[in-house]
């Protein structure tokens, strides 16, 4: 599906979406509250079938966090990027780990690195960091650790 067709289809699914073009792929800005519903539709809709979540990450913009989901369809081979703005003080978004199983590990990574709370995630624990790092959010820009970080 071309970007325009995707745009039309997604507007149909969720009228209040913002689009960003000019990048490599079509970018869609969604509200965190709408994301779960849209995700299910993106995965299940017969003409979209975004069954492969190939990248899930978060960006710290100091004022807010942005969740970024890169989606691909193994059937149609079209890609989109979903972005959701989160509050920096108390970031939270619905999990998609039951829609795309790969999100399980990726969300746990984002949870420990950025402190994003994934609502309804079945097993939200530290994955990479050792015990005692809960809530420290090391990938945020304002994170300081005089012991483990060496400034060149």
């Amino acid at each position: 599906m071309t970007n325009d067709a995707l745009k039309a289809k997604i507007t149909e699914l969720l009228p209040a979406t913002g689009f960003e073009e000019g990048g490599q792929w079509l970018n869609i800005n969604v509200e965190p509250a709408d994301w779960r519903l849209l995700a299910e539709q993106l995965r299940l809709d017969a003409s979209l079938q975004f069954d492969y979540l190939f990248c899930l990450t978060c960006i710290d913009w100091k004022t807010h966090l942005t969740m970024v989901y890169h989606l691909d369809s193994t059937k149609f081979r079209h890609n989109i990027v979903i972005k959701a703005k989160l509050d920096v003080a108390k970031p939270a978004i619905e999990t998609v780990s039951d829609i795309w199983r790969t999100a399980d590990f990726h969300e746990r990574e984002v949870y420990e690195m950025f402190g994003v709370d994934f609502i309804n995630h079945p097993d939200l624990r530290l994955l990479i960091l050792p015990d005692g790092w809960e809530g420290k959010r090391p990938m945020l820009k304002n994170f300081e650790d005089p012991v483990n970080m060496i400034r060149l």
Binding site: D51, F54, T74, T102, H106, L127, I128, L129
Partner: protein
Amino acid sequence: MVEEIGTTVEGDVLINVGPQHPATHGVLNLLLTINGETIKKVEPHLGFIHRSIEKMCESLTYRQFIYVTSRMDYLSAHINNHACALVVEKGLQVEIPSRAKVIRVLMDELTRIASHELWWGAMAMDLGAFTPFFHAFRERESINDIMEETCGARLTMNYIVPGGVMYDLHPDFQKRVKDFITLYKLKIHEYDEMVTGNIIFQNRMKGVGYLSAEDAISYGCTGPTARGSGVSCDIRKLYPYEVYDQLDFDEILETGCDSFARYMVRIREMNQSIRIIEQLIDTIPEGDFQAKTKAVLKLPKGEFYQRVETARGEFGVYIVSEGGNTPYRIKFRSPGFSNLSALDQMARGSKLGDLVAMMGTLDLVIPDIDR
């Protein structure tokens, strides 16, 4: 820390496989719940070699951060560097000379063969046959010699830089590669004799670690892991970069969905890599090996993503630039991380001995998973 997870019944035993264990090939810790010999649950604990490369790269310039990526998946160091160079070039909108493109592809494919050779040996060793490891290293060493001659290092080359490659090919390169191809073709049938055809080996692999195509996609598995389940996911074919769209090679698909299918994908993939190298080795275009770039690289504001196919699967580099000479945020989508997440699904209900077969065919490189 362990007891509260999952349900344990009488007779269940929790054992730690790793971080120091002969089968984990690095510092991976798998917490197994077993009952007798049967695995009930696998829970990976990562982070023993986490260096926070993503955070580190935020303070390195676009020329400097590439060397770090060699230390992630050190067996496909070239391909990682390649992805980073591609994403920087995408941001700078630099067209690189065709000679550099061909050199990069040649190096990628040599790296892929070297990586699969090591995997083959290590996997056979996991299954208890020690000899193939040394035989695999014989071929791998000759690739490493080629790398050393041209790139100056055997493992972490830092040869592919934004704009092309760091220096031109060594004059002996073509001859050495042809020698390697001769050696490879002479020895590849021994792999079948010693491992592939062996009845014990086949029994250890067939029907072990079943991963259906739907699960493979859902878990984000890529590379030979997914292709063993019949999922077409070769980035070289689907989203071609460099000169891959002009090359004649097959995407290997097996439909067995088990460890043996994943094994066969890798073995057959080596032959495809040889095919690619044979197509390119005699027709390396003359010209510059590097495009003219500024001394200080500055990417425009925006987001750039590049997907490449490493020996283990899809490797993605996601750069968010604010216009400076360092990335604002960089994310490496490593293939091993997603592949590992499918291990629990694959391992449940199988025997302890099967775990090493599954981990062997996932081809885990721990620094790649932890980053």
